[in-house]
């Protein structure tokens, strides 16, 4: 497959930095009850990346539709739009070295402005918005930048404790350049008091780690009389330089 068409950068083939599993939530977080029976209990098998983890799929712009990055309109009837606070979410996908990750497929999904998902398993009494589906996607540019338009999702109650509420959040699925960089996470909103009460968020033990998932209100990036903006950067695993590695390239 042609490497980075339009770029003269050599594709990188180094192994990825080891994952800091104390920074991520552990598999078992009993206050998030579903994790109790779904968390592996035995030690993980650790090994340095092989070609199977260093390589990864590439997604071209051909898969994208015109409205994929516009959740206000991509499910709406012609001439109509989703109800809610209009926002732009933008940022960069970087790796742990601070290098922008280009060509990264980002997929996002969320509840509507009332906190209701368009899903047959969601029975929350807040109504569906006939003009809101809740999914979108984009591919990062040469510097790792991305942006999309949506409405701010509402918080909602969920069956965990007797009265647990999820803070407003947007789910993000991210592909980097290698299978081992694959990541799913959630973006929260600056100033939301529900963040620090949420059992899913609190599975992350380090407060500084949680703060990296909170998007900042950026009034400079707003569109006056249209939408406010939130900045959300995502960091994927960095990778080693392969030039000093005592083994064949690409392995």
């Amino acid at each position: 497959m042609p490497a980075d068409a339009g770029s003269n950068r050599r594709p990188e083939t180094g192994a990825f930095f080891q994952r800091d599993r104390n920074w991520h939530p552990p598999a078992l977080t009993p206050d998030y009850k579903t994790s109790v029976l779904r968390s592996p209990q035995k030690a993980l098998l650790a090994f340095d990346n092989t070609a199977s983890e260093i390589t990864g799929p590439v997604f071209g712009h051909a898969i994208l539709g015109e409205l994929d990055a516009d959740l206000i309109h991509n499910f709406a009837k012609p001439g109509e739009s989703a109800i809610g606070e209009r926002i732009i979410v933008y940022g960069r996908v970087l790796d742990e070295r601070g290098v922008g990750v280009s060509g990264a497929l980002l997929e996002f999904w969320q509840a509507n402005a009332g906190g209701r998902y368009r899903h047959k398993k969601d029975g929350y009494l807040a109504p569906l918005d006939p003009n809101f589906g809740g999914c979108g996607r984009t591919i990062t540019d040469d510097e790792g930048g991305y942006a999309f338009r949506t409405v701010k999702p509402g918080p909602y109650p969920w069956p965990n404790g007797p009265n647990d509420w999820r803070p407003s959040h947007i789910h993000f699925s991210v592909f980097g350049h290698g299978f081992a960089q694959r990541l799913i996470t959630q973006m929260y909103f600056e100033g939301d008091p529900l963040i620090w009460r949420c059992p899913i968020v609190r599975g992350i033990r380090d407060r500084a780690a949680v703060e990296t998932l909170i998007a900042a209100l950026d009034m400079q990036a707003t569109i006056p009389f249209d939408a406010r903006a939130y900045k959300f950067d995502i960091v994927l695993r960095g990778r080693r330089a392969s030039m000093f590695e005592n083994r064949p390239e690409g392995n």
Binding site: L37, T50, S52, G98, L183, I184, E249
Partner: protein, 204 residues
């Protein structure tokens, strides 16, 4: 104080949650008209080279109940052992095979089906060949960070016996947790999240 390494920390993972279909398989989840088709739903076309096989995968929780709300992604080499990726420098992969697939588990049965080809062998870092395998990544409600493992093939006994990753598993009794059972053109693979038969998951 020494100089700062100026490294960033990886964004912490959060669960994909119960509504993962909205984002990753919206057509399956009942949201039509936004994307023409669900990404990764079809891995083959008429020109794809290699032996056609089916995978039938289930993910079972600590009580042995199949998860009916999980999602599995697979990544594999083509029939000759090349990955369709810019980081593949050993040769050109089959242009008719991306090597990546994504399927939700059935909301009633918990069964997850892939139609793909049997992958060729890929070299380990020291040049030895690994046994044919497919990498799996599993997410669901209640899974805080995506689970990484591999599916090996029951009809590759000799290659499996020499595989450098399988060889690293200290308790040999756990090796079979990574080996799918061949039944005709179908491979059956149960992933156990917990218990005596807990699948070997990776940190790589």
């Amino acid at each position: 104080m020494a100089q700062s390494l100026s490294r960033l920390k990886e964004s912490p993972s959060q669960t994909a949650g119960p509504y993962v279909h909205i984002g990753l398989t919206p057509n399956f989840g009942g949201i039509g008209g936004v994307y023409a088709s669900d990404l990764g739903a079809t891995m083959l076309n008429d020109k794809t080279k290699g032996e056609r096989i089916g995978l039938r995968i289930r993910v079972l929780d600590g009580t042995g109940t199949p998860l009916r709300d999980s999602l599995i992604e697979i990544w594999q080499a083509d029939a000759k052992g090349f990955y369709n990726s810019p980081a593949e420098l050993r040769g050109d992969a089959d242009p008719d095979f991306q090597g990546w697939g994504r399927q939700p588990t059935d909301m009633e049965t918990g069964l997850c089906s892939f139609e793909t080809i049997k992958p060729g062998r890929v070299p380990f870092g020291d040049g030895r060949l690994m046994a044919p395998h497919i990498s799996l990544w599993i997410v669901a409600r209640g899974i805080n960070i995506g689970l990484h493992t591999r599916l090996y093939f029951s009809d590759e006994q000799k290659a499996n016996a020499a595989d450098p990753i399988l060889a690293r598993i200290e308790h040999k009794v756990r090796v079979p947790t990574l080996i799918a059972e061949r039944q005709g053109d179908i491979y059956i693979f149960d992933v156990h999240l917990q218990g005596e038969k807990e699948t070997v998951f990776f940190d790589s």
